[in-house]
């Protein structure tokens, strides 16, 4: 919405009224003293390192993958060649998110969908193909496992391939995800383990990484998946930290590892970078401040190395328009600017064809080029926290922090973040916001260029959706048969039996998951164990 006059009421997305200009008097008193701090000083809203991007540019980190494992491998190599500085493995939603093999009836009914959103990886052999020739030892890798029940398999597969190549897990750098926002809020699967079992899995992963993979980010909470479902920026912040305390409280209750080590592990998070540039930049500043205050006040942790929140950002997919898709290059650029102004450590820019399909090779290349132009040509990297001290930015940062803690407290009063997922309360919040946003567009209060104004169907806007490979299902089915035919059958059966025992007791699931992958147990067989032991999450909404 565009303000037309000085007295117009304009609201930030977080329902904070915006004035037409700001002065020093507007900065809330409690925050005013903090505006004089330098980057590197707690609570780190100005950034963790005084030299910022001068000493370490952000990581260019794009979601990537489709089709067969070799298709995904080829695309990742293409991105690395074009300047990506880490890599992300996407897994096929049909199989991975549900822990189904391709011969499961739900998948057979939709065989053409297989491979459309990520590569099919049902055994460690598939993961090895996807990782063939990729720099696992020197590059930061995202192993996939975005959905909670899939994470132990995806991580164990990646680590098993690394071990087979002779890499020491202790030196391996990368990230897992197992994101509750994606799994239980934004992209609800047809079948999923309940949230309490998911919490146990994530705590197991955090403990396992602490012991064996100190450079690995065990789990990564994605505010993005709450925000792109409808949560406002203040709610994205509040729910992310409400999620983080569920993990840390559980780790504390279990008492197996030091809490500060776990907290460091939980401090690799992601946010959505959306189109309201200043509010989004303030959100990243607010996030660092809140994490530092939260660790000190709730857990007594003051070590700066732990309080250093590392933020990955993805530009808002839902802001990318279907109509006139080339306009999305501008939107992607501006959303990336908001993230960089907010001082994030890692960034993915959604493809200009986001509203049509997964990215084409060209769209992917442009997402990398946008980041390279920002990094090399614009001077955005010259000065750390360039917005710091702005009356407006400091005021909005403080207001966001206050509203976000309000949302955090509301979640706690309703039994905590998991309870708010189980009850559907967070879904209702997101839906209400979505509805409001749609109504603003429908009523003409807010415009979308090329959609509600400046419509024009003519070239050069015409593109079509990217179609991946057409043989992902057939190849996956053949490979599934082959692995079952040629593996040591008794070894796989024993590993799966031990997995079931561990699922029924309190042991850490990860050592036995490593055994399962080593024994070439398949994704669907592991999913069958979960379904037998944990049952299904009772979805609070009908999607």
């Amino acid at each position: 919405m565009r303000a037309k006059g000085p007295d117009d009421t304009v609201q930030a997305c977080s329902d904070i009224p915006l004035k037409s200009y700001y002065t020093a008097e507007d900065i809330p008193t409690a925050h005013a003293a903090r505006t004089n701090l330098a980057p590197g000083e707690a609570p780190y809203h100005r950034g963790f390192h005084p030299s910022g991007y001068r000493s370490k540019p952000w990581r260019i980190f794009q979601l990537s993958g489709f089709g067969k494992p070799e298709d995904e491998n080829e695309r990742i190599k293409f991105l690395l060649k074009n300047g990506e500085t880490g890599f992300i493995m996407e897994h096929d939603r049909n199989t991975a998110d549900h822990c189904y093999n391709v011969d499961h009836p739900e998948v057979l009914a939709r065989r053409e969908d297989v491979g459309l959103t990520g590569a099919v990886m049902q055994s460690v052999r598939d993961t090895a193909i996807c990782l063939d020739g990729l720099p696992m030892d020197t590059s930061f890798g995202h192993a996939g496992g975005a959905v909670v029940q899939h994470a132990p398999f995806a991580l164990a597969a990646y680590w098993t391939v690394a071990k087979k190549r002779g890499y020491d897990l202790e030196h391996l750098a990368g990230t897992g995800q197992s994101d509750f926002n994606l799994t239980y809020l934004g992209c609800i699967t047809k079948q999923q383990i309940p949230t309490d079992a998911g919490l146990r899995f994530n705590a197991d992963i955090i403990e396992f990484c602490t012991e064996h993979l100190p450079r690995w980010v065990p789990v990564s909470i994605a505010g993005y998946n709450g925000a792109d479902t409808g949560l406002t920026p203040d709610q994205e912040l509040g729910s992310l930290f409400a999620n983080a305390v569920e993990y840390l409280d559980e780790i504390k209750r279990r008492g197996r590892i030091a809490l500060d080590v776990a907290a460091r592990g939980c401090g690799g998070v992601s946010f959505r970078a959306s189109i309201k540039i200043f509010e989004e930049a303030c959100k990243m500043r607010a996030a660092r401040l809140m994490w530092s205050d939260l660790l000190e006040q709730r857990y007594g942790i003051t070590d700066g190395r732990v309080a250093n929140l590392r933020i990955h950002c993805v530009t808002a997919g839902s802001k990318m328009a279907y109509q006139q898709p080339m306009n999305n290059l501008v939107r992607g650029t501006l959303m990336a600017v908001s993230a960089v102004l907010g001082g994030v450590q890692s960034l993915g820019v959604s493809g200009y064809d986001e509203a049509l399909s997964i990215p084409s090779e060209h769209a992917h290349q442009m997402s990398v080029r946008i980041q390279q132009v920002l990094m090399e040509e614009t001077g955005l990297t010259d000065v750390t926290d360039p917005l710091g001290g702005s009356y407006y930015v400091e005021t909005l940062t403080a207001q966001l922090v206050e509203k976000a803690w309000g949302f955090f407290d509301e979640i706690q009063s309703r039994g905590g973040y998991l309870a708010c997922l189980d009850s559907g309360w967070l879904h209702a919040k997101a839906e209400e916001n979505q509805h409001k946003e749609f109504m603003q567009t429908e009523s003409g209060q807010a415009n979308i260029v090329g959609v509600t104004m400046a419509q024009d169907d003519a070239s050069p806007f015409e593109i079509d959706g990217f179609i991946g490979s057409d043989d992902a299902f057939d190849v996956a089915l053949e490979r599934l048969k082959e692995v079952k035919r040629s593996r040591h059958e008794q070894g796989a059966a024993n590993a799966l039996r031990r997995l079931e025992e561990v699922c029924r007791n309190d042991d850490n699931i990860m050592p036995v998951m490593m055994d399962c992958l080593e024994a070439e147990a398949t994704l669907g067989e592991i999913g069958d164990v979960y379904r037998e032991v944990f049952g299904d999450w009772r979805t609070p909404i009908q999607s």
């Binding site: 049909n94 939709r110 969908d113 934004g186 279907y322 049509l356 999607s543």
Partner: protein, 129 residues
């Protein structure tokens, strides 16, 4: 008057619910009764359309167009007069294939008022254009 009934289903296993939920709300606000069955196979969609005695079928499509076309064919074969409309992340080539089967298609950026108008037309509440 008894409200007209609309079945809403997702053809794929991709659980993004933002789009169909917003559309369902707009349809309910306009007086329709909406039956959401979520992710469903072709067989489940056909069975629900008949069991629930609906006046219109709405498909949310987020995957390969062949999966959606199979569902469309099955509904049209089981209930030849049943109108169907579709929405979702549907690229232009796939929109065309659905339109050729007589569907009204609403890709991202469609206005809710246009979707409600379409539902009114397809269920006979307003005159067909």
């Amino acid at each position: 008057m008894t409200p007209k009934r609309i079945l809403m289903a997702k053809t794929g296993l991709d659980g993004h619910w933002r789009g169909p939920t917003i559309v369902a709300r707009a349809l309910r606000d306009a007086g329709f009764e909406v039956i959401m069955i979520g992710m469903a196979t072709t067989a489940e969609i056909v069975a629900a359309a008949i069991d629930e005695d609906v006046d219109l079928v709405g498909l949310n499509i987020g995957g390969h167009i062949d999966v959606a076309l199979r569902a469309v064919d099955a509904v049209q074969s089981a209930a030849p007069d049943m109108p169907i409309f579709a929405g979702g992340t549907i690229p232009p080539h796939a929109c065309k294939q659905l339109e050729e089967k007589g569907l009204e298609v609403f890709p991202p950026g469609s206005m809710l008022t246009d979707i409600v108008d379409s539902a009114n037309r397809l269920t006979g509440l307003s005159e067909t254009q």
